[in-house]
Symmetry: C2
């Protein structure tokens, strides 16, 4: 083997994980793997872990119908057969083919009025997060702020880009503007430039909390005053019951909000179609200006080139079928999830008397929608506890600590209600209660 | 406006491109935009620029047939209706659903025998490049080597990750092992760790060159000796005429080759389905070992979560229809491109006598397949020349300088033959010849 002068050490034939980018050694990935293993090892356990949407309303044949509808839409809009072939077969525009349909839907569903040119169609909201972070995190001085606990998709994308993350502690009822102000000051004092704050304002993953209207206005005022962007991610709104508060983007008067969009809960995850609304002007330094969406499009050309025109066609067909009103399309789904959430809360209420809750130190929140609720427990709810819960009690949940980017959440867990039947909810809550009582009795403070 | 202590400057409401990540200011993007603008401004010009596949063999209705075939395949393999619905509707496994079909196809088409577990299905080869680079570029000491000229997708992905790129100069007939050895020594002398060398061994984009069998063996020996990986990208092989030389991966006995796969030329670009073969063992530092594919899967979970199961289903249906033999599926396409390449060479031969070529200093290579050929010209073939060519001569081409990551290629251009009719080729070559003669006469050395 030739040893070349100047190299730090002999080239190794075998790869070690330590030689790879740190993102592959992220402890969150190991913990997620652990959760998957546990789920696989105890198939009979009732699982409050997965955040996937319920698919009982979906019929595979619909894919053919939706695709056909989109092709007819193209034909009706003057596309020749060759033009339609091109639209499905070829590379498409990097920013997407169905931006007009998404803009129409955003206006009807959410009162978000933006031109199609401000939208980039992405491979799910995950790619939208990656593109937005890449654009905004220009160097080591730039920092992303996230609520803590936080959805792992955004912190994972940050890790991939070696982007610094600052945590904004949530109160038990969710976002607190004072905590964000403190985080901004702290990061600036360290010489950092806070570029954006990521938040799920409605029925958050993992905490289930929703920002009040006052908090929304306060956040927008702060963003405007302090010159950072708000990355709004809100995939559960349109599958939640009743009237929702306005999105941050709908309230945004000064262009501070980048809205990350997902169709995974409202249409179907298998399309892998999401989007980002980025209507902020960007000066090019030569007297011209485009939109932030144009810059995200450039980045997308280096990530996925474009979102599958085939997937976009099926999503486009679904939007056309619904006349753009995905909220109406999801009325049955919203009622289904509402029943599951209410059933879970009712079952938990039935498992623990008020007195026992107080004595044990167990409590949970009461989300008005979404897929998740958060539960505080009187013991360390980590992987060891999860393994005992699955093995001895037949119930699985997600340790809340997975969602704390800088640590925390050791005595809390996340329960997801989106994929369980009424019977499973009742039985699962009873098993969870038995597990919690057993742990409390053992007095497991830390393990 | 509150000015917070410690901040470098007042927060700005307006975004400037200089505040965004440097990748959005990459000059390659501006030049590509310029090319697009020129193409748009002169719609009557004959364009040798686009590298898109010919779509005349494609029928939109086939999408329905292929999707149906894949669903029947699932049913035949014991999937229930609910299982099929899950396979199309839901999030899928991050590493992909059709790894077994791709592995089967690689064995039949390319003699690449790898287990499905070593494959990750990606959103086109572009995502495969990003994942692989992200895994291998662990820090600022790591460097990617690329041939120069080089496909812009890989250098774009490197820029997105702030990864250092080292250029390996190609000879006129392509890859030179000595140049790579020199680049390795140069980078190591600078304290850098060369992690990988990216190359298109067959009918390269942009140069049209093909590595000989001897060069392939020499490259693999060097990689093994020096401890770097070879990133093999070879999208044009199966749409090129005749028997191709073995892929680097088929010759790889020591696990040095990561094979980047695309279906954009062999099936259809609109699926946005590609893959990466990464069968290298990776030690986890705790006595265990997985495959590099597992590490790439982790990274993919932070980029796109998974490749659209719907797109994978259509690609899966196409692979099933062809019995995995995409080479046979592409016999007509390969003949089509072969005729276009031969026609282009014949037309160019007819435009310039041997004597005129020598007098002017014009020459071009004679690729045996693929979409591209490279032409040397006696003047600066940059954007200004391109604008004159489009406006006054009605012919468009790609400046070769776009493909030189560290500069160069000023007196060369790339001609693509994949999307032109015989008539357009003949007329396009004649226009190109008139343009070249005019430029040479003007004596434009640099502009």
């Amino acid at each position: 083997m030739a040893l070349v002068a100047g190299q730090a050490r002999a080239p190794s034939r075998a790869l070690g994980r330590a030689d790879l980018h740190a993102s592959v050694s992220d402890p969150v990935l190991d913990t997620m793997n652990f959760l998957n293993e546990i789920t696989h090892r105890y198939p009979e356990a009732i699982s409050f872990a997965p955040g996937r949407p319920y698919d009982g309303f979906f019929d595979t044949e619909q894919v053919f119908t939706h695709l056909r509808r989109y092709l007819e839409h193209l034909a009706g809009n003057g596309h020749t057969d060759a033009g339609i072939r091109d639209a499905i077969f070829q590379y498409g525009p990097t920013s997407g083919r169905i931006r007009d349909l998404v803009a129409d839907s955003l206006a009807k569903d959410e009162g978000i009025d933006v031109p199609p040119e401000s939208i980039v169609i992405t491979v799910g909201a995950q790619e939208a997060m990656l593109l937005t972070l890449r654009a905004l995190i220009a160097g080591p001085q730039d920092v992303l702020l996230v609520s803590s606990p936080c959805y792992v998709g955004i912190t994972g994308a940050a890790r991939l880009l070696d982007a610094e993350v600052g945590a904004v502690d949530e109160e038990e009822d969710g976002f607190a503007c004072a905590a964000l102000e403190a985080a901004l000051a702290r990061e600036r004092a360290r010489g950092r430039r806070p570029r954006a704050f990521y938040v799920i304002p409605d029925h958050a993953n993992p905490s289930g909390t929703t920002m009040s209207l006052e908090q929304r206005h306060a956040l927008l005022d702060l963003a405007d005053r302090e010159g950072f962007l708000v990355l709004e991610d809100s995939p559960y709104r349109l599958v939640s019951p009743g009237r929702q508060l306005p999105t941050l983007k709908a309230l945004d008067r000064t262009g501070r909000v980048v809205h990350l969009g997902s169709f995974s809960k409202t249409l179907f995850p298998g399309a892998r179609v999401g989007f980002v609304v980025a209507d902020q002007p960007v000066a090019d330094g030569r007297g011209g200006a485009g939109l932030l969406a144009d810059e995200l499009t450039k980045i997308k050309s280096m990530v996925t080139v474009n979102t599958s025109p085939l997937s976009q066609a099926v999503v486009g067909g679904m939007l056309l079928a619904a006349g753009g009103r995905t909220r109406e399309l999801n009325a049955a789904a919203a009622a289904y999830y509402e029943q599951a959430m209410r059933g879970t809360l009712r079952a938990l209420d039935g498992c623990f008397t008020e007195a026992e809750r107080a004595a044990l130190g167990v409590r949970w929140n009461r989300p008005s929608g979404g897929f998740f609720l958060a539960m505080r427990v009187p013991f360390h709810a980590g992987n060891a506890a999860l393994a005992r819960s699955a093995e001895h009690f037949g119930v699985i949940w997600t340790p809340m600590s997975y969602f704390y980017p800088l640590g925390g959440g050791d005595r809390a867990l996340r329960l997801s209600i989106s994929y369980l039947s009424d019977t499973e909810i009742t039985e699962g809550a009873a098993r969870l209660a038995r597990f919690i009582r057993a742990e409390a009795k053992e007095g497991r403070a830390a393990c």
